[in-house]
Amino acid sequence: MTVSATSDSPEKSESPSSSRDGITELQNAVIRFAGNSQDGIQTIGGFLARLAGRSAREVMTYMTIPSTISGGPSIFQVHLGSGEVLSAGDESDFLFAFYQHSYDNHIDSLKEGGICLYDSDHVEEIREIEGVTHVAVPMTSTTVEAIGGSARDRGKNIFVLGLVTQLFNLNKEKLVSLVEKQFGRKGEDVARNAMLAFDAGYAYPVGDVLKAQYDLKEGKSEGIDKVTTDGNTAMTLGLLAGGVRYGAGYPITPWSTIMEQLRSELPKYGGLFVQCEDELAAVSMAIGFAYSGHTAITGSSGPGLSLKMEALGYATMAEIPLVVINVQRGGPSTGLPTSVEQSDLMQAIYGSHGDCPRIVLAPKNVEDCFYIGREACMLAREFSCPVIVLTDQALASRIEAFTQPNLDEVVIDPVLDQETRGEDFRPYPLDGLTKHAPPGTPMAAGKYPVVTGLEHDEWGHPSGNPEMHARMNARRREKLKTLGARLPIPDIHGDESGDVLIVGWGSSWGPIREAVNRMRERGQKVAAMHIRHMNPMPNSLDTVFANYQHVAVVEMNDEGLYGNGQLATLLRARYCDPKIQSICKTDGLNYKIREIIERVAELTNPS
């Protein structure tokens, strides 16, 4: 929690509980809600994130979900701020604990000077911790009383939302309209109960114990209503903007919410998403859509991507444009289905049989899910090959606020190209890129193309000619090298030369960036470079590496047999530079800022 210097003594005001009565201004705050998965704590977080977006504040959320259908501990953490918010926060300023287990497991996540509000109907034992203020609130019974007897525990989340609104002096009007809109859809009774619970929370006399009220400042980007959403939704919209009109999939966590949204959205665009009997059928049907001349997608998570591999090899060989979304989770096998990991990079690049070049992209945050999804569509069409997008569980469900893309610039409406192909048409020209003639296209020469997974000549005829195989392999490889050559070197965040360059990819962009900010504040010469194009990568990264003593590659995957994570292995193979070192972990959690700083220190100053 950063407290602005409105009070007399900035040092002292680090602890809100010790500040004077009245309003303490906060630049940002990390609020953790700990309960069970069915308590609807995600709903509180969702509302707060939406409100943040409407108040030009930055926001980032983080949640854990048990992989069971109902029950099991769950948390939702919201980091709200008026400045740049790059991570969901390591530790929290405020903790709302619903149960004894929530209290026990999360009380240590509070910062010095933090405040714990607990449900005194469920939490019986609290620990005396120096610098932590405890506030007992009978959340369950007050909610039941407010709604009227029979409502069991339901509505407790909205009660807490009311409490938070009061505590942080949030814009009640905006929140009430969000609550009414959300619950109004579910019927009058539901909406009325929600409002009763909200009002009870808003009016609860928490001030008797907690003298201060906290005013979270609104952001500076006034006038711009930000979009607040999660990565899977942003990805879905990016795909639609990029021209996806057909797709097929099979349910698997955490990919499913993309397919669910596409199933509902695509008919509006005259398109279609089909739920298939398995992953093999899903990728095959998507290839069928793509062959038919459409921009098509399939997607999955870890194990499902493995099942699609044979058909993806076909898509490389037959040169079919296809977008594949892989929402990474902890593996191998069923692994940690609701935890984050970045262990599918090698699978994405090398997963199929044979030499099988394809494009692999990875978004860095929720906003980037939109742009990467759209770029994947464009690259698939241009290079007529599969494009795998590696997002992850953290991005899938994390909520962030960002500026709405300029739709005049980003929307691409697809065209089904059935112009008659001339006499010289070749589906696999040795001197150019494949541009298939979809079925329905008249062929001037009277000869129709067969798209094939057998090695073939320029006309698509099967060919076992050894020289042809070598030339076609080269062709499929070279087109990706063309792409690599035009990719710019990623921006450097921090010092242009110095001690350490932290290289990252995917969802750890925020924590890495914040770690660099903090290290630089302490006078260290460090920088971060984030790679979004994983295969092909931009060329000449070694010219950047040359400016630093150390290159630390931060990844959420295992260090492997030889001590290097997956991206580090690729960078070492390409640049043969022992300076490239690896920072890995597989605890299923996002990197904490502190963790990155400590691990970089260990790497650069081995004891």
Binding site: Y269, A296, G453
Partner: protein, 306 residues
């Protein structure tokens, strides 16, 4: 789409592509010939013909037809063909394959394409053996069949394709014999004209690895080609014994007959195709949103998230 001003009559010559790689005497030659003849008769516009196959001897089919085609991976021709059919109502989609491709590695896809009633025609050239890989047991190999994977004779009960197809929900199910070109043409034509998922099982002999297996159904080899007599609905005495193609139970009964069994249409029903049902949903959705552009649609989604 630019259709030629005066469409030229489509002939076998136009439709022929590479010379088939099949062994001399293979039953699949006759299947290809019958397919060409039906296309000549129906005069489907050339560019609208799309043939799709997986892996196997018979799955080489698309190379031998001069038309848009896909030679795909083993067992997955039907999901790919479903994607083509569902997104391109203007095309005539055909899938070809063998017993291994369709009933073994692709067996699950067959059930689901059938239950979804995707509008396409699927021809299975069943030879009771794996030919391309040189004589292993197939899902339709009879018990006792000696192959390289069952040197003392197959011990697994074979699949009954007709039962599988009727159970799966295929809306047109027929059985024919590669030695009976005229009959093949009749059922192919009916299958193509049927709206929905139509399947024709063709007994097509592998003369190298399972010679003579279908002689029992071939009068020229001393067998009997027993035709299904379909009901004429003429209120006659004889008609009562005839087969009602819309009767699922009767289709099962035909499917349980001792080999070589009966040939003809086992089952035919008229139920909505997935193509129609999805289109209905698209149409009603579009009706609700009016003529919203992509920008309008995305704009309203973004607005709802502010």
């Amino acid at each position: 789409m630019s259709a030629p001003a005066e469409p030229k009559k489509l002939t076998k010559k136009d439709l022929s592509a590479d010379h088939p790689t099949w062994c001399p005497g293979c039953g699949d030659f006759a299947v290809l010939a019958a397919f060409f003849k039906v296309l000549e008769k129906l005069q489907i516009p050339h560019e609208k013909i799309c043939t799709i196959a997986g892996i196997g001897c018979s799955s080489r089919f698309p190379y031998f037809v001069n038309g848009h085609g896909v030679h795909f991976i083993h067992g997955r021709a039907l999901p790919l063909a479903s994607g083509v059919s569902l997104s391109r109502p203007d095309l005539h989609v055909f899938a070809f394959g063998g017993d291994g491709d369709g009933y073994s590695i692709g067996g699950n896809h067959l059930d689901h394409a059938a239950r979804k009633n995707v509008n396409l025609t699927y021809v299975v050239m069943d030879n009771f053996v794996y030919g391309l890989t040189k004589k292993q047991t197939s899902p339709t190999s009879p018990m006792g069949f000696k192959s390289k994977t069952d040197p003392t004779g197959s011990i697994d009960q074979p699949i009954n394709p007709m039962k599988k197809l009727v159970y799966g929900g295929a809306s047109f199910v027929a059985r024919t014999h590669a030695a009976q070109v005229k009959h093949m043409m009749e059922v192919f034509e009916r299958a193509i004209l049927h709206p929905g998922f139509s399947v024709v099982e063709v007994l097509s002999e592998c003369v190298v690895f399972y010679p003579g297996i279908f002689d029992d159904g071939n009068p020229r080899k001393g067998g009997e080609f027993g035709l299904i007599e379909e009901k004429k609905w003429d209120d006659s005495e004889e008609d009562q014994a005839r087969h009602d193609v819309s009767d699922e139970n009767a289709a099962y009964q035909l499917a349980t007959l001792q080999y070589p069994g009966k040939f003809g249409v086992f089952y035919e029903t008229d139920r909505p195709t997935k193509n129609q049902l999805e289109q209905r949903w698209i149409d009603s959705t579009k009706e609700k949103i009016g003529d919203a552009t992509t920008k309008d649609l995305l704009g309203s989604r973004f607005a709802s998230m502010k």
